[in-house]
């Protein structure tokens, strides 16, 4: 308490000028987030990008990706070291870091926060991240349908071991060479003890360990106002003295707000991709591709069983024209986003547009019976448009009969999960950590987290396991690439395009643009 008071005083004496620091300081920016307002800030219980975006300012990760080199660098961690098999990882923290309440940041904070998240009955959203850790299953016993999960007697994962004040180790269920990379995920942020004791009480007054803290109270429906926290001793502190996050649920409205000059930074919504350069001629930036987008073939529908048919579909699509329609997009030539280490140009053999070849392949596959249904998400402004574009190409180039079904995203997902979805759907994937493994495992491994097509190939699973066990990063990549080849040949997902995002920024700031981590308003430089 005394300490935090001292901090407040010192921040006043720091020449921040107006003392209140409510966004009027020399270096302040207002960032628009096109989403419904956050209801709480807790990175461990939030996996949506708005929450993560705010958490990035308030919490500091163990490691991060260097925006200039793409290498993993330590932030809160002093070192992250795997054992020989990559099954047990030892994390050593830097000394001297504290939470914003003044308490020192210790290994125990990490271990306890993680255990809290891994406890299934808490229903925290990043629970799934820990499923790789030894002992996770004891905290998440199977629950019969309709029953309420009870808190388990075991409160801690056996894989997490406190070694000393600043060191702990993580033992995984199976070897996983990419685990070190995953530690940059903000969903692994530490919570201080007082928050861990009663998380609900701190929903609107989070205590972070990052460069910014809440400026005053944050009540429901208000902007999130952050000011620089002087107690932050880690590297990578952004330049801004204060940052305001403003939530504007309608993306087009947010865009208009920017044009009217009331916010400093905004995402360009898909409907404005063609106009943003003329709307804000001096204030736009584009990032590298943020994710890859696919057309999902349902493995449960026998009509899609023949790989040749899937290749035919793929080759009937003019990816160049489609990418132009999407805007700021690159036609896909593989399953992985182009800026990943391990990306190979032209990995996909069936991704070039060739209507004649496509038709021939379809014939060889025995044709397609019945109308082809294409599902699209009605909550997305462009869902219907993209579906129609794909549908038109399949209809005109393959002579298929096509129909469309617009549904809410959640319904499409549920139908797909229960193997009842009729026809094609769209999907997208962005990595949580910069490894091509984070594309292949979730989407193509049998029962992967994001295996939308219900695809399963033991050969591919085996290759992935080899890669996970390979400690040498370069060798691991080569093994993962074999897995990508298998997936491309089977083609449960047809790669469509990778998309860059565009952003508008005011003349006051220059956002950081990195080939490796994209565009960041948080790390903007001020003019």
């Amino acid at each position: 308490m005394t300490l935090s008071l001292a901090l407040v005083l010192s921040s006043c004496g720091d020449g921040n000028g107006d003392g209140s620091g409510s966004g009027t300081g020399a270096k302040s920016e207002i960032i628009a987030i096109a989403a419904d307002p956050l209801e709480y800030i807790n990175p461990l219980n939030d996996n949506g990008s708005p929450g993560i975006q705010v958490a990035m300012a308030m919490f500091s990760p163990l490691v991060t990706t260097d925006p200039n080199t793409g290498k993993t660098v330590n932030v809160m961690a002093e070192s992250v070291t795997p054992d020989k098999t990559s099954q047990t990882w030892t994390v050593k923290l830097k000394a001297g870091n504290t939470f914003q309440n003044g308490q020192p940041l210790t290994a125990k904070d990490y271990v306890d926060s993680w255990n809290l998240t891994a406890q299934g009955s808490n229903a925290w959203k990043n629970n799934g991240f820990f499923s790789k850790v030894d002992g996770y299953d004891e905290l998440n016993p199977p629950t019969p349908d309709g029953a309420t999960p009870k808190p388990t007697a075991v409160k801690a994962m056996s894989g997490l071991k406190l070694i000393d004040d600043l060191t702990f180790s993580v033992k995984l269920k199976v070897p996983f060479s990419q685990f070190g990379l995953t530690l940059q995920y903000l969903g692994l942020a530490p919570l201080p003890e007082e928050v861990r004791k009663n998380p609900d009480a701190y929903k609107r007054k989070p205590i972070g360990n990052g460069a910014y803290k809440l400026d005053g109270e944050w009540n429901a429906g208000e902007d999130i106002k952050l000011v620089k926290w002087d107690g932050y001793k880690g590297p990578n502190a952004p330049e801004a003295d204060s940052i305001t996050y403003r939530f504007i649920p309608n993306a087009d409205t947010a865009y208009n707000e920017f044009l009217a000059g009331t916010v400093d930074f905004v995402d360009v919504p898909p409907t404005k991709i063609k106009t943003f350069k003329t709307d804000a001629p001096d204030g736009w930036v584009t990032g590298v591709s943020s994710g890859a987008n696919y057309l999902v073939m349902p493995a449960w529908d026998q009509r899609f069983k023949n790989p040749k048919l899937r290749h035919a579909f793929s080759m009937a699509i003019d990816r160049k024209a489609f990418a132009d329609l999407v805007g700021l997009a690159t036609p896909a030539s593989g399953l992985i986003a182009p800026d990943m280490n391990g990306y190979r140009e032209g990995a996909c053999k069936y991704c070039s547009f060739d209507a004649a070849k496509a038709k021939q392949l379809l014939q060889e596959a025995g044709g397609f019976s019945g109308p082809l249904n294409i599902n699209y998400n009605t909550s997305s402004a462009t869902g219907q448009i993209f579906a129609e574009a794909i549908g038109n190409m399949l209809r005109q180039n393959l002579g298929l009969e096509v129909k469309y079904t617009g549904k809410q995203g959640s319904e499409i997902g549920e139908l797909a999960d229960t193997r009842k979805l009729d026809g094609l759907r769209f999907s997208g994937w962005g990595h949580d950590y910069p490894s091509i493994e984070d594309y292949l495992t979730p989407m193509f491994k049998s029962n992967g987290d994001a295996n939308f097509s219900g695809y399963s190939n033991p050969a591919l699973d085996k290759v992935l396991a080899q890669g996970d066990a390979e400690p040498d990063p370069e060798k691991a990549i080569a093994i993962y690439q074999q897995a990508e080849d298998i997936a491309l040949e089977d083609m449960p997902l047809i790669p469509l395009y990778t998309k860059s995002n565009a952003y508008l920024h005011s003349a006051k700031i220059e956002p950081r643009v990195s080939k490796y981590v994209g565009v960041s308003a948080l790390y903007a430089t001020f003019k």
Partner: protein, 308 residues
Amino acid sequence: MIRFVARRVLAAIPIGLIVTLGVFALVFAMPGDPLRELAGDKPIPAAVLAAKRAQYHLDDPFIVQYLLSMKDILTGNFGTTFAGADIADQLRLRIPVTLKLTLLANAFQWTLGLFFGIYAGFKRNGLVDKSLLLATLVLLAVPGLVAYFAAQYLFGVELKWFPVSGVLEGFPRSYLLPALVIGLLGFAGLARLMRTSIVETVNADFVKTARAKGLGEQRVLWRHILPNALLPVVTFIGIDLAGMFGGAIITESIFNLPGLGQFMFQAIKLKEGGVVVLLSTLAFVSFILINLAVDILYGVLDPRVRHV
């Protein structure tokens, strides 16, 4: 009077039950898993889903869920949304927004509508009358969507006369533009109604009597024509006001006004039956109250239907 009010309120209760049960059933029957929409960008483990489901009673049978929701509503113990927002908080924030928008829009609509309607009807076939009829035809023919987008772009983005969206500039500045557009669109209907009503009344025999009494035109208009011509208009205003409270979903979305309409829309998308029913109940109660008020007002204006 008290008996009249009591009878109306009692009659409203079964309707309210059917409305809430019906709305809840509809939301319940909507396909899609409510928690999945909430999941964000990444999949959620089964254990987490099960825990969430239990927390929001989603694993209970339909009727239990409904009764639990009704209990929450009746006891004022609203709980939180699936996304974790405190519902009472939300109502506290959102009701004023919707009220401000509705009242301002209605203020525009009534002032303009009554004024032009009275003037045009009284000076029938005059220049004002003819231009009003044309203007209202055009206004009624413009789809609301067109009007909202056009107004936001023209007056907010290009001319910068009004804030583009949001409520940051407070009342009334933030509400002026959307209220003006809603008001204008509603004005067309109200002005036409008022005009027709005046025209009908101008020809009534008692107006001849009033003129034969040697009264001035202004007195004839304000004392004799208007009180009678207002009767059908009052009914309309009641319907209109009751409807507006149900939520200006599209306006609130385009102008980013965090009111009840957006709340309702989100709740529907997330299949939050409890919230949808709560908001429907709110809309229903206000509907009943406003209609009751209108009926009482009608009785004050028209002695023939006075409720003793």
